[in-house]
Symmetry: D2
C-alpha cells in the first residue's frame, strides 16, 4: 500500500485526498495546511488521517511514500525538493514550477534518487482529451492545421502567477498530450487591469515547424465562462466544449479541398466539403481518479505511467517563453532547442 501525504487542503487538495483515499493500493496518511480551519475540515471528514500545520512533519512521516503538493506555484519547488530529499515520490500541482531551471533541478534530483516525479495535468485524464488524442494520433483528423482554444471566465485572480500560468497551462498540457509536435516559437500579448498585479488577459500564438498554428485565449475578466477548443485538420475537425454536459466532443466531417492548377484569378482555388457530425461516447471516469490510479501503478511497478516531471518541464518552458514575449508586446520568442533533450 502506498501512503500519500497531501500538502495544501484548499481548492484542489480535497479532491486529491478523496481520490487517493478511493484508489486501490493507496491510502492517505497525512494532510497538511497552514490554515487551521481548512485542517479542521479535513479532520472532520477523515478523522483517521494525520492532520498537521507543519509540512515537515508530513514529509518525515514514515507512512508517507508519495507527497502530493497542492499549494501556490511559488512554493512548489521548495516543497517538492524537500520531499525528494526525504526520499519521497512527488506529485506537483500544475504548473510544475515557477521556472524551467527549478523544474530541471527537481527532475535531476528525482532521477538521482530513483524517485518518481509527477505533474498533475488533470485534463489529459478526461475522456474528452483522451479521445481527442486518439483522433489526432490515429490520423482521423488528417494533417493538422490549427489548435485554437478559448478558456475564459470571471476570476479567480491569482496572486503569484498571471493568467497564462493559471489558465493557459491547461491548454499547453492538453497540447503536449494530444499533438504529435511541439511549438518552436511563441508570440504573446496581454494586459493587466489590476494595479500592481499580473496580466489577467492574454493571447498566445504558437508556431510549429510544420504548417500549423496554435492559439490560446485566456481571460479572468469574462462575464461568461467558455472552455472551447477547436482542432482543424485536412480530413476532419473537432470541437471540444468542456461545458457541454453530454456531447463534449464533436467531430465534423468538414474541410476544404485545394485545387492544384488554378488557371485564372477568379477561378475558385478552394472547394468545401461538408458531411455528418459525430459525437463519440466518452469515458466518464473522473479524471483525477484515473490519474491517481496511474500514479499508484507507476510507483508499484517503477515504470512511469502518468504525466511526469519532463512533461511538466516542457510546459513550463513554453510558459516562460510566452511570458517573455508578452513583456515585449508579442515579440516572437523561440523555444530553446535543447527542449527535446530535457
Amino acid at each position: 500500500m502506498i501512503g500519500v501525504g497531501v500538502v495544501g487542503y484548499g481548492y484542489w487538495g480535497p479532491n486529491l485526498v478523496r481520490n487517493f483515499a478511493e484508489t486501490p493500493g493507496a491510502y492517505v496518511a497525512s494532510v497538511s495546511d497552514l490554515n487551521t480551519q481548512r485542517l479542521e475540515l479535513a479532520m472532520a471528514r477523515y478523522p483517521s488521517i494525520q492532520a498537521t500545520t507543519d509540512v515537515a512533519e508530513l514529509i518525515r512521516n514514515p507512512r508517507v511514500d508519495l507527497v502530493a503538493i497542492s499549494t501556490p506555484v511559488s512554493t512548489h519547488f521548495d516543497l517538492a525538493m524537500r520531499a525528494l530529499r526525504a526520499g519521497k515520490h512527488v506529485l506537483v500541482e500544475k504548473p510544475l514550477t515557477r521556472s524551467s531551471e527549478d523544474g530541471l533541478r527537481l527532475i535531476e534530483e528525482a532521477d538521482r534518487r530513483r524517485l518518481q516525479l509527477f505533474v498533475d495535468h488533470t485534463f489529459v485524464y478526461t475522456g474528452s482529451v483522451r479521445k481527442l488524442r486518439e483522433l489526432v494520433r490515429t490520423g482521423e483528423l488528417g494533417q493538422l492545421y490549427y489548435y485554437d482554444s478559448t478558456r475564459v471566465n470571471l476570476g479567480l485572480f491569482q496572486h503569484d502567477v498571471d493568467v497564462i500560468w493559471d489558465l493557459a497551462v491547461h491548454d499547453l498540457a492538453i497540447m503536449y498530450y494530444v499533438l504529435p509536435m511541439w511549438p518552436v516559437a511563441v508570440s504573446t500579448t496581454g494586459i493587466c487591469h489590476v494595479p500592481g498585479g499580473m496580466e489577467n488577459i492574454a493571447y498566445l500564438t504558437m508556431f510549429f515547424q510544420e504548417n500549423m498554428i496554435a492559439h490560446v485565449n485566456v481571460n479572468w475578466l469574462s462575464p461568461v465562462k467558455v472552455r472551447r477548443t477547436m482542432i482543424g485538420g485536412s480530413q476532419k475537425m473537432a470541437v471540444y466544449d468542456d461545458l457541454e454536459v453530454t456531447e463534449k466532443l464533436k467531430v465534423y466531417d468538414k474541410g476544404i479541398t485545394v485545387k492544384s492548377n488554378p488557371e485564372t484569378l477568379y477561378k475558385m482555388l478552394v472547394g468545401y466539403r461538408t458531411g455528418d457530425m459525430w459525437a463519440p461516447q466518452l469515458d466518464t471516469t473522473e479524471a483525477l481518479a484515473l490519474e491517481t490510479r496511474q500514479i499508484v501503478k507507476s510507483i508499484e511497478t517503477g515504470v512511469c505511467l502518468a504525466t511526469d516531471g519532463r512533461t511538466g518541464l516542457h510546459v513550463v518552458r513554453l510558459l516562460e517563453a510566452a511570458t517573455q514575449s508578452m513583456r515585449h508586446r508579442g515579440y516572437i520568442t523561440e523555444l530553446q532547442t535543447e527542449m527535446a533533450a530535457a
Copy 2:
C-alpha cells in the same frame, strides 16, 4: 430622386439593389456585372432597370447619381475613382481600398469635387451594434477593459485578400463605431494553408493609449460558425452574439473590485461582483435598409450622415498595419500618428 447604379451583382449586390429600390427618395437606374448569367438574374427580377456588362455605360448614365460598388477589393479604387471623376457620389463595399494611399486619394478626389464618398460598413447599422455603442458611449459599461471578438466559419476563401481584410474588417468597423478610442499599435499572427494563397487564419491584438486591449480571431477553416464579441468594462460587460435569433446582446452586471491596500501577498487583491443579466430589446430594422436611407439623406442634404471615406480609411490603415505585423510573426506595428488628421 437619387438614381443609383450598382456595380457587381454577385453575393452582396442583390442586397444593395433591393434596399435602394425600397428606399424612399431613391431608385435603381442601372446594374452592371461582367457575368451575363448574374445580369440575366437581375433583369428577370427588375425588368425596368438598365443592365449592362459595361461599367462605363453605368457610370456615364445620366440617371445615375450614386455609384454603389460591390466588386472584389482589388477593383475598388479604380472603379470609385472613375465614378468620382464622372461626378458621381460613391458607395464602396468594405474594405474601402487595398491600400491607405488609394483610400486617401479617393477622399481627396471626392473632397475636391464636393462629392460624397461612403463606405459600406453594414454592421454599424444593426440594432445590436447601435445599442452596443450606446452602452459604451453613455458610460454604462464603465471604463473599458477589453474588446474580444471571434469571427470564424468554413469558407469562403477570398482570392484577392486574406482573412483579415475579409473578416476582421467587420470588427474594425464595429470598433471604430462603438469605441471612443482607437488603437495605436497592432501585433498580428496568422497562417496560410493553401499553397500560393493568403492567410486563412489570423489573430490580431490591438493596443491603445488607454489601459485597454482588443483582440480579433478570424478563421476561414472553422467547422462551426461563431460571431461573438465581448466588451468588458469596469461597471458591466456585454456579450454580442450575432448568431442568436432573438437575444443577440446580453449585458452582465458583473465585474471586479480592486482593493487598494493589499497588506499581504496572500490577501485577496480582487473582489468579484455578480448581478443580473439583461438583454435589451433591439431594433430589428434591416441594417442595409437603414444605411441606404442614411446615404440618400446625406446626398439630399449635403451633410454626411453615414459611414464615410475617412472612416473607411482608418480601418484600411489598421488592416495595413495588421498585415505588416503578420508578415513578421507578431512584430508590434505602430499606427501612423497622422491618423487623426486623415
Copy 3:
C-alpha cells in the same frame, strides 16, 4: 408549361409565387388578393404577372392550369371547389379544409374531373423530415415508442382557427409522412385566453393500435420559440430541432434493454444503453422548391408525386377529433374507422 394562379398574397403567397416562378416547367400567370396594397407589392416585383382583386378572373384565366390557394382556412373549400369546377388542378394551403366533409367533397370532385388536388404540407419536403422518415422507415430507430413535439411561440393568433389547426397541423402532417402507423384515438386539452377567441394553447395525446404514443404541445403565448420533436425507438432516438442552424437532426444511440426474468421486486428491470450521437448531413434544398417541382411533375405525368388531398383529409379528420376531445376536456375520441378507405 404549367401556368399557376396564386390566390392570396399575404404571408405565404409570396413564397408560392417565387418558387413556382423558379420551377422548371411552370410559370406564374396570375395573382389575386383582396388587399390592393399586397397586390401592388406583387405587381412591383413581378410586372408581367396578371394581378387582380377578383379571384374569379384568376380562376377563369385560360393560362392558369393550377390554382394555388393561400388564404384563410375558412375560404379553402369554396375557392378550391370553384377552381376544380373550372377544370383547374388545385393546391391548398394546410389544413386542407375546415371539415372532413368538405375535404371529402373536394377529393370526390377532383376524382370525378380527373384533376389533381394537392395539400401544401411543406414540412415533409424539408431535408430534416425526409431524413427522419428514412430513419423510421428503414427501421434504424427500431420499434417506435413515442413521437413528442413542442411547437410554441408568441403569436400569431389566427381568427378562423385555433392553435391546433394552425400549429399542430404541421406535426400531424409530419407524423403522416414519417410514421408507418396512424392514431386510432386522441385526447386533447386546451385553453383560450382571449374573450370570444379560440384556444391558443393545446395539448394533444394520440393513441395507436401499437404500443406507441404521440404528443403535441402547441402554444401561441410562449415567450420563446421552440420547434422540437423527439422520436423514441427501441434501437435509437432522434431529436429534430428546426431552430438549429446546422445540425437540425441528431440521432442518439441510446435506449433501454428490458430484462425478461425479473426475480425480485427490487432487482433492476431495465438496463440503459448509451452510445454515440450522430448528426447526418441534410439536404438543404428549400422545401417549397422541392414541393413545387413535385407538383409540376405530378401534373405533367398525371401521377401524383406530392402530398395529395387524401393526405390532407387524414390530417383534417385528426384535427376534427382533437377539437372535439378538447371541447370535452380531454375526453378520449376515437378516429373514424373508415379513415383508411378515404
Copy 4:
C-alpha cells in the same frame, strides 16, 4: 442539538447526511440501510455515526430526534408511522406516501403527538424556484395564463412508482409553492413500454377555477435531458431552465394585448408586445442546506417553517387523481373538494 437518523443511504440519503451534518444545531446520530455495502460506505465517511441494518435500532436510538426517510415510496408510510409512534419528528422523501389515505393518517398521528412531519420537496428551496414564487406572488407576471413544464431524461425507471410519481411530483411540489391557486381537475395520458412495468411516459393537464392551465410532460425514455418550465402571465413570462449553469431563470417582458371591440372578422383581435429580457441573479445556496436549516429551526421553535405533511398530502392527492385519469386515457378527474380542509 437535534439528533438526526437517516433511513436509507442510496442515491439521496448521502445528501441528507452531509447536509444535516453541516447544519448548525443538528448532528447525524444514526444511518440505516439494508444494503451492507452502502452502510460500509457511510461508515468509511462518517466513522462516528451509528450505522445499522436494523431500522428499529435507529428509531429507538434516544439520540435521534428526527427520522429522515429516504427509501422507496412504498415503505414511506410504515417507516414514518413507526418513527412517529416512537415520538420522533419525521422528514419523508417525496412523494409523502403511496396514497392520500396514508398521508392523512401520518398527518393525524403527528398532530396527535405534537410532532412535526416534513416532506422533502427539495426544489422549492432552490434560488430559482424561490425567485419564481416571488415573481408570481408579487404580481410581476400579472394574471397567470399557464404553467408548462417538461421534465424528461433517460432513466431511472422506478419499480414501485410510475413516471408521474417519480418526476411530475417535482412539478406539483413547485406549483404548490409558486402558484396562488391549485388545480380542480386533471386529465392525464401515458404509456408503459416495459412489460409488467408502470407508465414511463405521461402527460398531465391540470385545470383551475381561474382561466389558467397547467401541463407537465414527463418521460424516462428521452435521449436528452430537459428541465424546462414556462410560466405565462398577462404582464410577463418566465422561463426556468434548471440545466442552465448560470442564467436559470429568464423573465421576458412579452405578451399580448387583447382589443375589446373587434369590429370585423379580419381585424386583428390581438396585439403583441415585446421588450427586454432579464435574468435576475439567484441565490446559489444548496437547496437541501436551506431545507435542513429550516427543518432544524422548525423543531427548535415548534413552528413549522418548512414543507410540511399537509403540503405533501396536496401533492399526493393530485398524483392519485392523475393516475386515475391516466388509467382511463385522459378522462377528466375532479380533485376532492375537501382538499383545502386537509
